[in-house]
C-alpha cells in the first residue's frame, strides 16, 4: 500500500497546525483533527457534490466561501471553519431545509435518529424564521420493503449517488428544477414497479432523514446503518490497486 509519491502538506485549520496528504479534502483533514464541520449532502465513501453548502469554510486569500467537502488542501492554507458569519449562514441554511418541505419531527420515523435534527441541534437552531412552503407531495409505499416520503426529503441526493456509485443500479435520479425538484425512481414511476432496483436498501441507510425508511417502523423507530459504506469503498480501492 505504501505509496512513495504521496506529497505531504501542512496547513492551519482554526489556528491548529495539521498535516495532510495532498488530494485530501478540508473535510477529511478537519475530521482527523477532531474539528467538526456540519454537512448534509456529504457522506464518507460517496462522491462529493458541494450542494448543501453547510460545510462552507473561509480560506484565507479566497474571495468566496469554499465547500470543505470538495476543496482539496494545499500547502500553507489557512482555514476558518467556524465563526459568527459562518454560523449565521449555516443556521439559515438549516432553517431553509426545514421550511422547504413538511418536516414534522414529532410524527417522523427518524425522530431522534435524524441527521437534519442533529445538525439543527448542534447549530443551535431553535426555531425557523421563514414561512414554511408546505408543498403537497406524494408518498410512495409501493415497494414491498421500503417507503419514500417526499415530505422529509432534503434533496441531498445521497440515495442517487449510492445507488449509482456503489450498487451500480442507478435506480434513483432527480427530476424538475428549483423547489419542484424531486428524487425519482427510474422513469418517475412507483418504486414497486422498478425493474432496476435490487432492493439492497443502501439508499435507505444513507438517507439522512426519514424520507427513505423501512416499512413497519413507527415514529422514532428508524435507525440507519451506514458502516457498510467505508468498508465497501476501501475494499474496492484495494481491488483496483
Amino acid at each position: 500500500m505504501a505509496n512513495q509519491n504521496v506529497k505531504i502538506v501542512t496547513l492551519v485549520i482554526d489556528g491548529k497546525d495539521v498535516s495532510a496528504q495532498q488530494g485530501q479534502t478540508i473535510m477529511q483533514v478537519a475530521r482527523e483533527a477532531g474539528i467538526y464541520i456540519p454537512y448534509m449532502c456529504h457522506v464518507e465513501g460517496l462522491s462529493n457534490i458541494g450542494a448543501c453548502r453547510l460545510c462552507l469554510v473561509e480560506v484565507q486569500g479566497q474571495r468566496r466561501l469554499l465547500p470543505a467537502c470538495t476543496t482539496e488542501v494545499a500547502e500553507g492554507m489557512v482555514v476558518t471553519t467556524n465563526n459568527e458569519r459562518l454560523r449565521k449562514y449555516r443556521q439559515m441554511i438549516v432553517e431553509m431545509m426545514f421550511a422547504e418541505r413538511n418536516h414534522v419531527c414529532a410524527v417522523c420515523v427518524s425522530n431522534g435518529h435524524c441527521e437534519l435534527q442533529r445538525v439543527a441541534q448542534k447549530l443551535g437552531v431553535t426555531h425557523v424564521r421563514m414561512p414554511y412552503l408546505h408543498p403537497k407531495l406524494p408518498f410512495d409505499a409501493s415497494h414491498e420493503r421500503f417507503i419514500l416520503d417526499h415530505d422529509r426529503c432534503i434533496l441531498c441526493t445521497r440515495c442517487v449517488r449510492v445507488c449509482d456509485e456503489i450498487e451500480g443500479a442507478h435506480t434513483w435520479d432527480v427530476r424538475g428544477r428549483g423547489t419542484e425538484s424531486r428524487v425519482i425512481i427510474d422513469l418517475d414511476q412507483p418504486w414497486g414497479t422498478s425493474e432496476s432496483c435490487t432492493g439492497c436498501g443502501k439508499c435507505v441507510n444513507v438517507c439522512p432523514t426519514g424520507a427513505l425508511a423501512e416499512k413497519g417502523r413507527a415514529t422514532a423507530e428508524m435507525t440507519k446503518k451506514r458502516q457498510f459504506l467505508p468498508y465497501l469503498t476501501i475494499m474496492r480501492e484495494e481491488d483496483w490497486a
Binding site: 457534490i49 458541494g50 450542494a51 448543501c52 453548502r53 462552507l56 468566496r64 466561501l65 469554499l66 465547500p67 470538495t70 476543496t71 449565521k88 449562514y89 439559515m92 441554511i93 431553509m96 431545509m97 421550511a99 422547504e100 424564521r129 421563514m130 414561512p131 412552503l133 432534503i154 434533496l155 435520479d173 432527480v174 424538475g176 428544477r177 428549483g178 423547489t179 419542484e180 425538484s181
Partner: protein, 549 residues
C-alpha cells in the same frame, strides 16, 4: 483554401457586387422577419425583376440593421427605410438614387446610427448571412488563414492579450489570460473549444442577432481560438428557442467545411478543427459554464463546484476553453487589425465595444454597439431617444436577472465593467431594460426573483429555497402584507444567498433586490408601512388580517 485563393475569391465577389449601381438590403433577422420582412424582400425582388433592373440593382437579405422597433427595416444604398410594407416596393424602386419617401425615410445621421461604433456588428445588416462569399468579400476568414500561416499559437494569444478583450458573457474575465491557461494545460492530446450561445436573460438578444446576422464571424473566432489553445474540436451550445440562428449556423458550418475553412488541414496546414452544434433545452442555468458542459455530455444540466476550472478539467474532463458568442465575434478583427488597435478603443480597463439589446420604455428599441466608456445617459437618451410619450425616466436595468437597476443620478457613469459593478449592477451579457416612472421597483425585483426561482436548478439549498423564500417575501410586500421583520429577513437572505450559493445564478440572484433596496428603499417602505404602491402598479390586499390568517 490558401490565403491567395481566399483573397482571389474576395476580389471576385467584390467585383461582382460593384457591378450593381444600387443595393437594397432587407433585414431578415428574427425581429424584422416576424414583422414580415420576407414578404417585403420578395416584393422588392419582383419589382426589380419586372422593371428589368436585375443587373443594376441587387436586393439582398441581410442581418440585423439595429433599430428593431420600426421593422421591417431596409437600407436603400445609404438611407434607411422604416416600417416597410410589400406595397411600398414600387415607390422605393421609383425613387432609387433619390431620397426615399418622407414617411419611410430614416437618416443614417440620426444619433441611433451615427453614435454607434461597430466591430462585432460590422457585417450585420451589410452581408447576406447565408452566403459565405459575402463574408469572404468582407475580409472574412483572412484572420484565420493569416494566423495559421504566419503566426504561432503563442503569438495569437499575445495579440488577444494585448487587445485587453474581456469576456462578453458578463463576468469580464480577461480573454487572453483564459486562452493562455487553456493553452498551457496538458490535455493528453485532447482539448475543446466551446461557444456559449445559451443566451437567456429576459430582454437580451445580442447573441441571437450576431448568429443570425454573421454566423461565420463566430466560426472564424472559434477556429482561431482552437489553433491558439491547441484544440481541434469545437461545440456551439445554442438554445433551441433560436431556430433561425441554429439554421444559419448549421448552414455556415457546412459552407465553411466545403470551402476547406473548417475540417481537416485547414488552409493547407496541419491544423484540424471541426465544430458541432448542441441545442439547449431551455434551462437558464445551462448558460453557467459547468452546467453547460454537463448538458453537452448528456447529463442533467447542473453546475458543479469550481475549482477545478474548465481550463484544467472541462468537457469530458479535458481542458476546455469556453467563451461567449460576442467574445468570439471580436477575435477576427483583433487578429486582422492588431491588439493595439482594439486596445485603443474604450476605457482603461474595459477595451473595445459592447453590444446592448436596448428594450423597455425607450423610443428606439433594438440592437446597439457602443464603445466602452460611453455614459448610460448617451445610450438611453441619445441613442435610445429617451422615454416615449413624454414619460419620465426612472431606472435602467442592466445584466438581466443577475444585474441591478441604476437610477437617474448615476446616468453619467461610463458603461464599463468596473463602474457598473460599483453601482451594484453588472455589465452582464448586454441586456438593457429602460424603465419609466410607471414601473414599480419592488415589482421589478419580484419579476426577476420569480425568474431566478423557476430557473434555479435545485442542486444547492441557498439558491433553491432562498430564491423561493425571497420571492414569497417580495410578493407579500407587493400585496401590502409585509412587516418590517419581513424586510429584515429579505436583506439577510440576500446576503446569505449571495455568499453561499454554488454557482453564479444563485450568487447573483439577490442583485435586483439589493440594488432596488439601495436606490429605491422608500418604495419598499411605502409598500410596507404605507401600504401603497407609489407607481400605482401593485394592488394591495384590502384586509391584511384576513389574508395572513
Amino acid at each position: 483554401m490558401t490565403l491567395e485563393e481566399l483573397l482571389q475569391r474576395a476580389a471576385e465577389e467584390r467585383e461582382k457586387q460593384a457591378a450593381f449601381r444600387h443595393t437594397i438590403r432587407v433585414c431578415v433577422a428574427a425581429g424584422c422577419l416576424s414583422a414580415g420582412s420576407d414578404k417585403v424582400k420578395a416584393a422588392l425582388q419582383a419589382e426589380v425583376e419586372a422593371r428589368g433592373l436585375k443587373h443594376t440593382c441587387q436586393v439582398k437579405g441581410v442581418g440585423c440593421l439595429g433599430l428593431c422597433s420600426v421593422g421591417p427595416l431596409i437600407a436603400v444604398d445609404d438611407a434607411y427605410c422604416r416600417n416597410v410594407t410589400p406595397e411600398d416596393a414600387g415607390g422605393i424602386i421609383d425613387r432609387l438614387g433619390d431620397r426615399p419617401a418622407e414617411r419611410l425615410y430614416l437618416s443614417a445621421e440620426m444619433p441611433f446610427f451615427a453614435r454607434q461604433q461597430k466591430i462585432v456588428l460590422e457585417n450585420s445588416g451589410r452581408i447576406d448571412p447565408e452566403r459565405i462569399e459575402d463574408y469572404i468579400a468582407a475580409d472574412g476568414y483572412q484572420a484565420l488563414l493569416y494566423a495559421l500561416h504566419e503566426m504561432t499559437p503563442a503569438e495569437v494569444i499575445r495579440e488577444v492579450t494585448e487587445s485587453g478583450l474581456r469576456g462578453r458573457g458578463g463576468a469580464g474575465y480577461p480573454t487572453g489570460l483564459k486562452w493562455s491557461t487553456v493553452a498551457k494545460a496538458d490535455g493528453g492530446g485532447q482539448k475543446y473549444v466551446i461557444c456559449n450561445a445559451d443566451e437567456g436573460d429576459p430582454g437580451a438578444f445580442m447573441d441571437r442577432s450576431v448568429l443570425e446576422s454573421d454566423p461565420h464571424r463566430v466560426i472564424e473566432g472559434m477556429a482561431i481560438a482552437g489553433y491558439a489553445v491547441g484544440a481541434n474540436r469545437g461545440f456551439i451550445y445554442v438554445r433551441a428557442e433560436y431556430p433561425l440562428a441554429i439554421q444559419r449556423l448549421r448552414a455556415a458550418i457546412r459552407q465553411a467545411e466545403r470551402a476547406g475553412l473548417l475540417g481537416n488541414e485547414i488552409g493547407g496546414t496541419t491544423f484540424d478543427f471541426s465544430i458541432a452544434v448542441r441545442l439547449g433545452a431551455g434551462a437558464f442555468v445551462c448558460g453557467e459554464e459547468t452546467a453547460l458542459m454537463a448538458s453537452i455530455e448528456g447529463k442533467r444540466g447542473q453546475p458543479r463546484p469550481r475549482p477545478p476550472y474548465p481550463a484544467e478539467s472541462g468537457l469530458y474532463g479535458k481542458p476546455t476553453l469556453i467563451n461567449n458568442v460576442e467574445t468570439f465575434a471580436n477575435i477576427a478583427p483583433i487578429i486582422r487589425k492588431g491588439g493595439a488597435w482594439f486596445a485603443a478603443i474604450g476605457t482603461e480597463k474595459s477595451k473595445g465595444t459592447k453590444v446592448f439589446a436596448l428594450a423597455g420604455d425607450v423610443q428606439n428599441t433594438g440592437l446597439v454597439e457602443v464603445p466602452m466608456g460611453l455614459t448610460l445617459r448617451d445610450v438611453v437618451f441619445d441613442i435610445g431617444g429617451g422615454i416615449p410619450n413624454g414619460g419620465r425616466f426612472k431606472a435602467v436595468q442592466t445584466g438581466g436577472p443577475s444585474g441591478g437597476c441604476v437610477p437617474e443620478q448615476y446616468l453619467d457613469m461610463p458603461v464599463d465593467y468596473e463602474s457598473l459593478t460599483k453601482l451594484g449592477s453588472i455589465m452582464g451579457s448586454g441586456g438593457m431594460i429602460v424603465m419609466a416612472d410607471t414601473a414599480c421597483m419592488v415589482d421589478v425585483a419580484r419579476y426577476f426573483m420569480e425568474f431566478c426561482m423557476t430557473e434555479s436548478c435545485g442542486k444547492c439549498v441557498p439558491c433553491r429555497v432562498g430564491t423561493a423564500q425571497m420571492y414569497g417575501l417580495l410578493t407579500r410586500i407587493t400585496k401590502g402584507l409585509a412587516t418590517a421583520e419581513d424586510l429584515q429577513l429579505l436583506e439577510d437572505l440576500c446576503d446569505m444567498v449571495r455568499n453561499t450559493s454554488l454557482c453564479g445564478l444563485g450568487q447573483s440572484a439577490p442583485n435586483p433586490v439589493s440594488s432596488t433596496l439601495r436606490y429605491f428603499r422608500d418604495e419598499y417602505l411605502a409598500h410596507i408601512a404605507g401600504r401603497t404602491c407609489p407607481a400605482g402598479k401593485c394592488e394591495m390586499v384590502a384586509d391584511p388580517e384576513k389574508e395572513v390568517a
